[in-house]
């Protein structure tokens, strides 16, 4: 399912992670199709990640979605090498992590990657600004320089003036902004997010998602984002991988997943998804292909949710024109396609 792209910045091939003393035996059972529980009762080992392969292109947002315990955290830890995979290859920015020595790995971490954690992982004994400056401090940047850079980033995430507080004095949402600023401070090419917004209230979560989208528009980094929230995955992802019992069940764009779920497990998510809210006009539109656009047809922007475009389509046979920022038509949205996606999800 993976077509290794030339521009891939993260490349993961056949990664396994087995916790416990009998990885070999556990693996054999897993390959024979045994479930995690069966393997655990027989061998005492947990197969947290089984045979996962994927790649992430530069500038892409790749979301891994799965229920809790499905192995997402273990997978992202294998990719960032906080956990040694039992088997398989991980390549990051052209360097094979699974073969790299300590120094190479350390340099790669200092320069190319950063991670945002579910429970923030802030240092309670350091001021906010020193939290943000941590990565630079580790690299040996001067105190003044790293503080300047840290304050700059605090401004970016909307926390100007909070630098001299301690993390515990901030609300959850603000703490995760600090976590984000801390990760961005080292100017990484690849950013890992392990359920960064799961611990936040729904409203704050939505704000943070929107801000992440804005930031990503500007920064164009490579993001590997973990979540258990399907709506969040749909909202952020260029591509989504659905994970179950340690393995990837399906990898595809949000539209692919919504329109053709691979199995019942995936369908269970898509059925409850607020499709019309999540999907935007651009993701369902068809190319113009020379069709003459009737000026009387309604127009929507590329980022309009289907929900908003829907009234224009109801009771009308004509399509809706999708226009870009300069109001130039870029595609057509057909009632049949929209109905198709929505009915696929509401059988």
């Amino acid at each position: 399912m993976d077509t290794a792209s030339e521009t891939a910045q993260v490349r993961v091939e056949g990664v396994w992670k087995v916790f416990g003393r009998k990885p070999g035996e556990a693996r054999e059972m897993a390959e024979a199709g045994a479930t995690r529980e069966e393997i655990q009762t027989t061998t005492g080992s947990v197969v947290a990640v089984r045979d996962v392969t994927f790649h992430v292109d530069a500038g892409e947002t790749f979301v891994v979605m799965g229920l809790s315990g499905s192995g997402k955290s273990t997978l992202i830890r294998c990719v960032s090498h906080l956990v040694e995979p039992t088997e398989g290859r991980v390549e990051l920015c052209g360097v094979e992590l699974t073969r790299a020595d300590h120094a190479t790995l350390r340099n790669l971490r200092r320069q190319k990657m950063a991670m945002v954690f579910q429970h923030f992982g802030l240092f309670p004994h350091r001021k906010v600004v020193d939290n943000v400056a941590y990565g630079l401090e580790v690299q040996g940047v001067d105190r003044q320089d790293r503080q300047d850079r840290a304050r700059e980033l605090l401004d970016t995430v909307g926390l100007e003036g909070w630098g001299d507080h301690y993390p515990q004095q901030l609300s959850g949402g603000m703490q995760q902004r600090v976590g984000l600023a801390r990760a961005l401070a080292v100017d990484p090419e690849v950013l890992f997010f392990d359920e960064p917004f799961s611990a936040l209230d729904p409203l704050i979560r939505r704000d943070m998602q929107d801000e992440l989208i804005d930031l990503q528009m500007k920064l164009q980094r490579t993001l590997v984002f973990i979540t258990h929230d399907f709506a969040e995955a749909l909202k952020l992802a260029d591509r989504i991988a659905i994970m179950n019992d340690g393995a990837f069940v399906q990898v595809g764009t949000p539209v692919e997943i919504l329109t053709s779920p691979a199995d019942d497990y995936v369908r269970a998510f898509t059925q409850d998804a607020p499709v019309a809210k999540v999907l935007q006009a651009c993701s369902l539109m068809r190319p113009l292909d020379g069709t003459a656009v009737d000026p009387g047809w309604p127009q929507v922007s590329m980022t309009t949710p289907l929900e908003t475009a829907l009234p224009h389509l109801l009771g009308s046979t004509s399509p809706v024109v999708v226009v870009d920022e300069d109001n130039a038509p870029v595609g057509l949205l057909h009632g049949d396609d929209v109905a198709g996606v929505i009915s696929e999800n509401r059988p």
């Binding site: 790995l105 992982g121 240092f123 309670p124 004994h125 941590y134 580790v138 080292v186």
Partner: protein, 649 residues
């Protein structure tokens, strides 16, 4: 296997387990009764036979003599022990002379500013006043001796303890060695540590310092390890993700987060060192402890009280300071304090250059005479109030004649020694199993072979009486505080205060009222152990979840029923922990009380420390104390575990 089968098997397992528990208990009681009866019939089993004494004292005495005569010539001394001695002695002297270089008035000022910084203004003023008081009662010199010994001991403890804690955290292999060693070290009464070092180094400050370091080391090692272990994994991962090296993560993330725990360890270590430095007066460590010791030996209660107060002041200041330093928040006073600190530093340096280092004699004032008068009055008037048969004297007689002496007789001769050993073995078997049983049996035999049977039973009897009194008072108070937050808050400072006082000093007020003998030792140990009894009872009862209280209440249980049927059984393991702590504290104190005529093993050990021809016996007594302590500790711990409900599967 199906779930049902699994459940059935588990249930059966539980039933047989509890069935065998009861059976074993009945068996144990039965065996004890039989043993006592059997041996009671044959009268020649009284005290452990003297002819079985292996006579360890002689070789020890010989070794001591050899060591003394070779102190200047043998390589063991010239190449190894003497350099250590000299280095330590140099360190203490050096620190003492540095401390004395500063003018006398800098000490009240430094204490005042320091306590203001860490604890607030009131503490600052009290600190200033109480340090001045030490000078006023003319114990300045002695305080410096104690302070220097403390300073070097605590410093060495930190230098050894923190890296050792880090090593134990980093390597399981180290932890496996360090942890049981620390456990064992903590069960021994501090007093016992003095004996082997006196043997090796003779008397003086060096063996005092070494035994202090060993006695005080455990908390800082343990808490450093715990602190590092409890650093949240996610912060460590965050640090690693930034490409930090191991060293950077340790320095920038782990150690700073472990800081509160390490500080707590340093505080406990400091307090243990304080109590040990005082006790080390027994081997000529000098300082305030020596004043107390000398005064107590000649029953000059006034002098002993003055030195005792100086020790308490020093202990409390060190405690407040070392607990406050981790959380210091001077708030509004920060700026003023910074200037004050600068000012005090200037004053200290200038004063030092001018040489104002003697505490002026014109300020001296002694309260010893008043205490002596009060003591005389108490002896005349409270000993037997108005000839009524009520008073401290008759009370002492009553407790001695009714409880201590009969119990001692019972344990040492009425119950035949094989029966005593049998009882120990059976209790061990019941509480844990064959290994503990064998261990207890062997330890008891060893006590007998050392020729310490009778003395050990004397100490055991005193301990049992003191433990009983402590629990009779402490447990009800703990029950009350667990139900009443107000009372608890009110009692807390009192209990904290008593826990801060070095054990040895508690003997001073007690001998004021009760003179010498076994009773002052028992009473001092009760006072010493009471805070622990209250605290652990309270803690145990508070651990009972609120839901269970409510459930019991919903069945219409009365308060008494609730306490007896629900809370006490649930808190039983914690209560047993309380018993364990109380026993260990009391044993430590009863041993020290050998000094004021407490008799038993303590007296023998004290004698061994003070007279070079009695070192061998002292050493034997020391081993017997350690054995007794381990037996009591293991046994009570095992019983506590036994009372714990089976862990969830």
């Amino acid at each position: 296997m199906t779930v049902v089968e699994e459940a059935r098997r588990t249930a059966n397992g539980l039933r047989t387990a509890s069935g065998s528990r009861l059976a074993r208990f009945i068996l144990a009681i039965g065996t004890i009764v039989v043993l006592v009866l059997v041996f009671r019939l044959s009268t020649n089993f009284g005290v452990f036979p003297e002819s079985w004494d292996i006579g360890l004292a002689d070789p020890i005495d010989r070794a001591r003599r050899w060591l003394i005569s070779n102190q200047t010539s043998h390589w063991l001394y010239t190449a190894f022990l003497n350099p250590i001695t000299d280095a330590i002695d140099w360190g203490i002297r050096r620190l003492e002379s540095i401390l004395k270089w500063f003018p006398w008035y800098s000490y009240p000022l430094i204490t005042g500013v320091g306590l203001w910084w860490t604890r607030g203004r009131v503490a600052g003023v009290l600190g200033l006043a109480s340090v001045s008081l030490i000078g006023i009662i003319d114990l300045w010199e002695e305080s410096f001796a104690t302070l220097a010994l403390m300073g070097v001991s605590v410093l060495i403890s930190m230098i050894i303890g923190i890296p050792l804690g880090i090593a134990a955290w980093r390597s399981d292999a180290v932890a496996r060695v360090v942890r049981p060693t620390l456990d064992a070290m903590q069960t021994m009464p501090g007093f016992v540590y003095l004996i082997p070092f006196v043997l090796l180094f003779g008397v003086g400050r060096v063996p005092a310092l070494i035994s202090t370091v060993i006695f005080a080391l455990a908390p800082v090692v343990r808490l450093t390890e715990v602190g590092l272990r409890t650093v949240p994994q996610v912060t460590v991962e965050a640090s690693e993700m930034f490409g930090a090296t191991e060293r950077q993560t340790l320095r920038l993330v782990r150690l700073p987060q472990a800081r509160p725990a390490i500080f707590a360890g340093m505080n406990q270590t400091t307090m243990l060192a304080m109590s040990m430095v005082v006790i080390a007066a027994f081997i000529g460590a000098g300082g305030l402890g020596q004043v107390v010791l000398r005064a107590m030996q000649s029953i000059e209660v006034g002098q002993a009280s003055e030195a005792g107060i100086a020790i308490v002041i020093m202990a409390i200041i060190l405690d407040r300071f070392s607990t406050g330093i981790a959380t210091a928040d001077p708030g509004h006073d920060a700026l003023a304090l910074r200037w004050l600190a600068v000012a005090v530093t200037v004053v200290a340096v200038v004063g030092g250059l001018l040489g104002h280092n003697e505490f002026p004699e014109s300020l001296n004032w002694q309260f010893a005479p008043y205490v002596d008068d009060a003591t005389d009055w108490a002896r005349d008037n409270l000993y037997d109030i108005g000839g009524s048969g009520i008073g401290t004297g008759p009370f002492s007689d009553f407790v001695t004649l009714r409880f201590v002496t009969p119990l001692r007789e019972l344990l040492s001769s009425d119950v035949p020694w094989p029966a005593m050993i049998g009882i120990g073995v059976v209790l061990g078997l019941w509480a844990r199993g064959i290994r503990l049983a064998v261990g207890i049996g062997a330890a008891l035999f060893a006590i007998g072979f050392l020729g310490m049977w009778a003395l050990s039973m004397d100490t055991l009897a005193q301990t049992i009486v003191a433990v009983a009194i402590t629990l009779i008072i402490g447990v009800p108070v703990g029950i009350m505080t667990s139900h009443n937050d107000l009372l608890r808050t009110a009692l807390k400072p009192v209990l904290d205060f008593f826990q801060t006082i070095p054990s040895f000093v508690l003997l001073v007020p007690v001998i004021t009222l009760f003179h010498v003998g076994r009773i002052p030792g028992i009473i001092a140990s009760v006072i010493y152990a009471l805070p622990a009894a209250v605290h652990y009872t309270d803690l145990g009862l508070r651990r009972v979840p609120a839901e269970i209280h409510e459930a019991a209440e919903s069945f219409g249980a009365t308060r008494g029923q609730r306490l007896r049927r629900v809370e006490m059984p649930l808190a039983a393991p914690e209560l047993m922990v309380a018993v364990n702590q109380v026993i260990m504290l009391i044993l430590a104190m009863v041993v020290i009380a050998g000094l004021v005529g407490g008799g038993g093993l303590g007296l023998e050990a004290v004698r061994g420390l003070r007279r070079s021809d009695a070192v061998g016996r002292g050493f034997e007594a020391g081993i017997a104390i350690v054995l007794l302590a381990s037996i009591l500790d293991r046994l009570t711990r095992a019983i506590a575990d036994r009372l714990r409900p089976p862990a969830a599967v």
